[in-house]
Symmetry: none
Subunit: 376 residues, 2 copies
């Protein structure tokens, strides 16, 4: 065998020196990340910020492209670096509850979400009580000395349940709800209970296997200091808790939940009306269609009352749905006029409006399509 020529040894030394520098920079990076975490904890800010991470990835991809590196490779590396710094931040979270032994009353505790939370609180060492529809005759006894009451009932029943519950709670008790609208329920809680109040909206359902990195929106009510332990508990379970005023929350959700769920429901209904051969469409479909049909099927695997409530939650939401259908009408006219130009102009304009998000969405959905294809 030939021995390594001199040129090769020099190149290897150069690579070793570069690697040494890289690891030194990684160590400095970790130092900065630790400082960020400490600062955020001090200020009560959420530790993770998915949007910030995506920005970071986008910038590195761009730099990679300019430097002649494969952007996908650099993204893979940075996902790895980010994942590692995240793991480090959560590694020391205690399994024990933040206030083990405290008494939690789950109002609507027999519902899917109530049962789900009941398991988490029980396993973290809390004393869990259930107040479901049939338990109201015993409500006074169930409310005695509770430290936290969580209202987890259908939207249309929320306000009435809060009115019935409030006067029965001890003054020190933290009252929270899980409703997917926040303005009215938080106002009702403030009116019905003089103690601490916190509105919550978990952006996940009881079918989710873990709370890790699931988002919970928190809407301030009264006495945030007295409610902090519940937020700490959610964070300890892995949730990302983001604070948002009730009005802004509701406006966002009109779109994110109202319009999207309406569109999903409407597509399912259209397929049923036309008696489309689902199996046949799935046989000859792209992964994207499979994904989209999957979102429809997912909805109809769940609860009619839940989705009915979400879609028709408020007058504002119903007004937005009308605007959505009116906009669809205009789009139909656009594509039906037999002239490609206006459609192209409109498409380009929308693409510009979406901006860098398009490329990010492309990457993300390609990643998922690959996962879907891998699986089947």
């Amino acid at each position: 065998m030939r021995t390594d020529p001199a040129g090769l040894a020099a190149l290897r030394d150069a690579i070793d020196r570069l690697d040494e520098e890289i690891v030194t920079l990684l160590a400095r990076r970790l130092e900065k990340v630790k400082q960020v975490v400490a600062l955020k904890k001090e200020q009560g800010l959420p530790i993770y910020h998915p949007a910030r991470e995506e920005n970071l990835i986008s910038r590195r991809r761009e730099q990679a492209r300019e430097a002649g590196l494969d952007p996908d490779h650099v993204e893979e590396l940075y996902r790895c670096i980010i994942r590692q710094s995240r793991m480090r931040q959560t590694a020391h979270v205690a399994q024990a509850g933040v206030r083990p032994g405290a008494t939690v009353l789950l109002v609507g505790g027999q519902g899917a979400m109530g049962q789900y939370l009941g398991r988490w609180f029980s396993e973290a060492g809390y004393a869990v009580r259930i107040l479901d529809q049939a338990d109201w005759p015993a409500a006074d006894a169930l409310c005695r000395d509770v430290d936290l009451a969580i209202v987890s009932v259908p939207i249309h029943a929320t306000l009435e349940v809060i009115r019935q519950l409030g006067p029965r709670l001890p003054a020190h008790c933290l009252l929270a709800d899980l409703t997917s609208i926040k303005r009215e329920p938080v106002a009702a809680m403030l009116a019905a209970h003089p103690g601490p109040v916190l509105g919550l909206h978990p952006l996940f359902g009881p079918s989710t296997s873990s709370m890790d990195q699931q988002i919970v929106v928190a809407t301030p009510g009264r006495d945030p200091a007295a409610g902090q332990w519940l937020i700490d508990q959610l964070v300890a379970w892995g949730n990302i808790v983001l604070t948002l005023p009730a009005a802004e929350h509701d406006e966002l959700m009109d779109l994110v939940q109202g319009v999207r769920h309406f569109a999903t429901f409407a597509f399912g209904r259209f397929l049923a009306e036309r008696q489309v051969d689902l199996g046949r469409t799935l046989e000859f479909c792209s992964p994207i269609y499979r994904l989209e049909l999957g979102m429809v099927g997912r909805m109809f695997a769940q609860d009619a009352a839940l989705y009915g409530c979400i879609i028709t939650a408020s007058a504002e939401r119903r007004a937005l749905l009308k605007e959505y259908v009116a906009s669809l009408h205009r789009t139909l006219e656009l594509v039906d006029q037999g002239d490609a130009e206006p459609f192209h102009r409109e498409f380009e304009q929308i693409a510009r409006w979406f901006g860098p998000f398009c490329e990010q969405a492309m990457r993300e959905s390609t990643f998922l399509i690959d996962k879907l294809v891998e699986r089947f």
Copy 2:
């Protein structure tokens, strides 16, 4: 809501600068690796050296330990870096084709899909010729003795291109197209060329990293025995080829592509019309919404002409879009009447119609949501 304190912004800038340095070093590293590979090739030395890789990992682990980093994390990163430079060295390994040496003419070969297929055919040992818009003066010469001609042009140009191309092809040549509608193009190919004809519709785009398990619909034209080798080639690349008569194909695609793409476009347009703060909705969204918005962004990252053509491909398709919008109107009335009962009845009925697919969709989408959450 609290804004980011100044200290946080400074720390983030510091992290960004470190990341920039890291990527710069990675680019320099790749440069050195390329030089090593070139030198080794020149000297006839084997490209990989497992022992050298293990040494490298050992040194980085040691450095990590000293610098207060987790050695396992640094090892994971370096395995990733090494894997990537290895992949780069082997990416162009050709897999022998089914009919290597045969001449393939890609009509519209400068388009994204044409270029994509050109790479695959070239790497499999075919002689690839390109006939794009500017090349028509040389069309006769380009068509001489070709064994396969594939029409990969926008839908609206397909029929005219086929008419121009057909008479120039040798009689033995297999004529195929990639149009996402099949009735008219296949009829046009049969009329323009007396030899073997095969309609194809690949249900994937040129952004797909691999053909593995991607579906291609094949619509029989003429002389299937003479076209079998092309199907074999697609299968050899990992595609799943499914045969479907043109009429049935088009009816399915009116729904699977026409209605879905229309709905996706319309939602993007609605968001742009309302100047929705995308970043804000993404910050406070569930993975499902992220997925759905991702599908919208994905469309607008692509070609306006492509989607314009798909959405308005035929009179049948435009008629179906009208029925879809009419159905949405009825759904709006259903949710807007202020009575939950009819909505629930309808929901249950649709859920029954979807049947076991719902549960399957639930499992599949939960799997994907978990993947999405893992990634971020």
